[in-house]
Symmetry: C2
């Protein structure tokens, strides 16, 4: 059974239930969405979780009546009559063409709607209302705020239960909650959407940067540091002034308009253009971790996944036509190393091809798409083709990354661009002595580091792998007598650049272990008289495995190997 139909029908049932309980409610819109369905209501009474329970009961009652969904076509006059008490629906009606005004009815409830729906309410076998949120009419903060009820519906009770379980697990893993518990980051009203990374969060941030930099060294990338404020002349050339100005922070510099950069690409074209370039320098891979700013609406900001200030592991690669395939192969290897070998994410690959409004030479498009396909085939990677969904300036490969809860995130991206080098008149001298326009590859592996950290926290439920953990080892003393040996071990670990802490509080060992586990520290070392006597360690992992009698040097060596191999 088609989930979308079920969910759309459930939203109608919800609306009919709201009308029965709160007859004065005015209806907004009520679509099925990826994650279920919602319906917006204009209602004086502020809805509470208790109301959701009552509404669920009412919905169950309506569904139990086995009502058919019936479609009907109306003239504009008829429709206006039906909707005379529904101001929001009347507004929607205005935008419908005369010959396409349809309604759906179940029981005594009728809604302006294009469908499709299930045949009968009995097909809604399992549903649940999830939460209430505010939502501006038409998503515009200048309009009135309505109350939105979110729900979910499935083909069976079993599916619903599985979904709710996953939802519960996801809530437990909410990176905002874990981020606060583990003192990783926080936000402040003085700078909405710009995270403060606390010392522990900064360790994670810098370890990720180091990891990417190590890969850059192996893969022939060159890092640069670039300005953040650019005169609008730059954004006019790049096209951002026309298409992206609303999303930029604009300010006045030297009596002229300028903007904080929302992306690095134009600055990298300036670097490319700073000297005469030869084909011998290509592929030229320019990488940058400069802070970026985007003026996201305040209402949509949330945790690390939607921020105003962030950095990307951003690079732009200038290549010749012939170099595309090899470069894409290398990028696939890069992405594999990061996502499969290190983080253990799965992913789905999508290739988006030439859209109708494409710019640039059709032959170049053909060759470039072939190069992308060849690279994917050579790597034996299955991929979906999204016909016509490329950008107007070039085809692209997207990676749908699946986390441990099987949620999908778009993180890595490889985007060919035939246009920007042309806009900036960027050229290189070819073997033939003539000037040629390079092709630019925009690509990110982790994407926004802020967002990636948010996703990692949820993927690992806060139990980060050893190499990323802000504190890798905590030493717990059993008694005061053990402080000297504990101090020696502490120093040895520190000298080996292991992030280690000492807990020598006069608390019980049980309490000390529990605290370390709450803080998700991967390894704890317990030191009592026995350990001190034998000069060995008792090691406990976060999942409770204990190993006794480990020699200090052996422990350090194992640890360093594990950290180096990013296990």
């Amino acid at each position: 059974m088609d989930l979308e139909k079920i969910r759309h029908s459930a939203s109608h049932v919800l609306a009919s239930a709201v009308k029965e309980l709160f007859s004065e409610a005015k209806l907004g819109i009520g679509p099925a969405i990826d994650d279920g369905f919602y319906y917006d209501f204009d209602l004086k009474h502020t809805l509470t979780p208790d109301d959701l329970k009552k509404l669920e009961e009412k919905m169950q009652e309506i569904i139990g009546k086995n009502l058919d969904f019936k479609k009907s076509k109306k003239t504009r006059n008829e429709a206006e009559k039906i909707l005379k008490d529904e101001p929001y629906k009347l507004e929607l009606l205005k935008n419908l063409p005369d010959n396409n005004i349809t309604f759906y009815t179940h029981g005594s409830f009728t809604d302006l709607c294009a469908g499709p729906h299930v045949k009968n309410t009995k097909e809604i076998k399992a549903f649940k209302l999830l939460k209430i949120a505010g939502a501006y009419w038409k998503g515009d903060s200048k309009n009135k705020q309505l109350q939105r009820i979110y729900g979910i519906a499935f083909n069976s009770k079993k599916e619903l239960e599985e979904y709710l379980k996953k939802l519960e697990e996801a809530e437990k893993r909410d990176h905002r909650k874990i981020g606060q518990q583990l003192e990783l980051f926080f936000f402040h009203e003085y700078s909405p959407g710009s995270p403060f990374f606390e010392p522990k969060g900064t360790v994670i941030y810098n370890e990720l940067l180091n990891f990417v930099r190590e890969e850059y060294k192996k893969r022939g990338y060159q890092e640069v540091i670039t300005p953040q404020i650019f005169n609008k002349a730059l954004w006019e050339t790049s096209g951002h002034w026309k298409h992206f100005k609303e999303d930029m922070f604009v300010l006045n510099v030297d009596n002229s308009e300028a903007a904080l950069k929302p992306m690095n690409c134009p600055s990298h074209v300036l670097i490319f253009k700073n000297k005469i370039r030869s084909y011998r320098e290509l592929p030229l891979r320019i990488a940058d971790f400069c802070a970026l700013h985007r003026n996201e609406l305040r209402g949509v900001l949330g945790g690390l996944t939607r921020v105003r200030k962030f950095s990307q592991d951003d690079a732009h690669i200038f290549v010749t036509e012939e170099q595309i395939e090899k470069e894409i192969l290398d990028l696939m290897d890069f992405i594999d190393t990061v996502y499969k070998k290190v983080f253990n994410f799965r992913y789905v690959v999508n290739l988006s091809t030439k859209p109708e409004k494409a710019m640039g030479d059709p032959k170049l498009w053909e060759k470039a798409e072939e190069a992308l396909r060849n690279a994917l085939n050579k790597k034996k990677i299955k991929f979906n083709i999204k016909e016509g969904e490329g950008a107007f300036y070039g085809p692209k490969i997207d990676f749908d990354i699946r986390d441990s809860l099987d949620r999908s995130w778009q993180l890595a991206t490889i985007q060919l661009d035939f246009q920007m080098p042309l806009n900036f008149k960027a050229t290189y001298e070819g073997k033939d002595g003539n000037k040629h326009t390079p092709i630019m590859i925009h690509r990110a592996i982790l994407g926004s580091l802020e967002r990636f950290i948010g996703i990692l926290i949820e993927h690992y439920a806060g139990k980060l792998p050893l190499w990323l953990s802000p504190v890798q080892v905590r030493i717990l003393t059993l008694t005061d007598r053990n402080e000297k040996f504990a101090g020696d071990v502490l120093k040895k670990l520190r000298d080996n650049n292991i992030r280690v802490e000492l807990d020598d509080r006069s608390e019980s060992i049980g309490k000390k272990v529990r605290d370390a586990q709450l803080e998700k520290i991967p390894l704890t070392i317990t030191i009592g008289d026995k350990e001190q006597e034998n000069k060995t360690l008792a090691i406990r992992t976060l999942d409770g495995k204990v190993k006794f009698g480990v020699k200090v040097e052996e422990f350090i060596n194992d640890l360093l190997t594990e950290i180096k191999e990013k296990k």
Copy 2:
């Protein structure tokens, strides 16, 4: 003889010479400055270097007349008559009190001036005019641009010659010139004052960051990452909105005024305040490399020493009163490590004490100043006391760093602050269970990394120490036959994280060596048939020393030691 008097008198002689050669010139101001003297003129004719020669001759002629400088006091009426053809001087006259209008005359030239001057022109024993520059009247870009002539004067020809030699050496070392030659950084009109660090410049930048981070690990600092845009509410509390707004980039965020941060301190107070703090956490050392922006006037921007975007090795240390002395001792050790052990700079230390307009408890001032003095004495550091020159919020220690040309730079600074924690109501729980206000230490070691890199380039004349060099080793092949062995050596060096390049062009070895030296690469390895046969290397340093028959492993070990020890 007082240099200031000589230079001020030379500027008068210059003005009289200009009047003789260009009678229509209107006079601006003509003071002595740290680096010599200048005089501003409003003159239709655009002055050329040839004019400077002629003016020097004319000045020599005037000086040769052994003219006395005579002071005279005038009434406002008399003064207005004397200055009737000098509109700029008339403007200056307006701001003088009636009882303090004085003139100085030598020969037939009379100038509105408070003095002091030498007694006779013959005391100007050695001078030179250096350059012509544009300068707005009263330094305000809304006013007319005048022509400024810079000059220098000394007690003896010998001193002048030494100075000019140093000036020439400084010009050769100009970091803007070297930065371009070595492809370290550049500027672009789209973002005045914000440097682009090219790949090689970024290596230097990141190596400096790594160095500071290593020290932070040893010294108990915690790094954070902070927002860049803050609502004006923050700046109102910190006092920046009142005293520093002109220097900030202001923008509109969520329909409210906000600014790009010009310094990190208030954000670190927010981090301090983010949780309840205990005396056990102090000293709390918060470090940050976040980008800062200051809206410097476009006219004063120049190279890396005056920029709009920069990062500092900035930290704020929250301490109790009792912890000041120990913390200052640790900071002195930090500064010694950086400046004396690593970079080989000398420095002069200044302690600035309580000013008249000081805020805060006088007893706290006394104790704090005593702690600073004690720390300096314990370290056996000679220091100058600048009585009353501390900030209103606390005493400070400045370090006048002297580079290899004996030029003075103010880089490191330690600044106590009793006020900002009060403004933000930042407190910690003391041993007594009560709330106390911490003292905040603002301190920077390198200061602005951009500025520091500019100074380093000039200090070393571009010949950076091995650990900071963007390319540490270049391998030069003698013939095609040597490419295989050269490739093996290249790989071995790379595997050891040494920054190495291969020059296998079919150029003469002489040309290859010269190119490497122009690029100031510390070490070159020449590989010919003999080296290949013996599996050894011929190593050449930048100052031309050559060592033959070095084993690869031995070379790598020596290199790694030298890099690690930052020699």
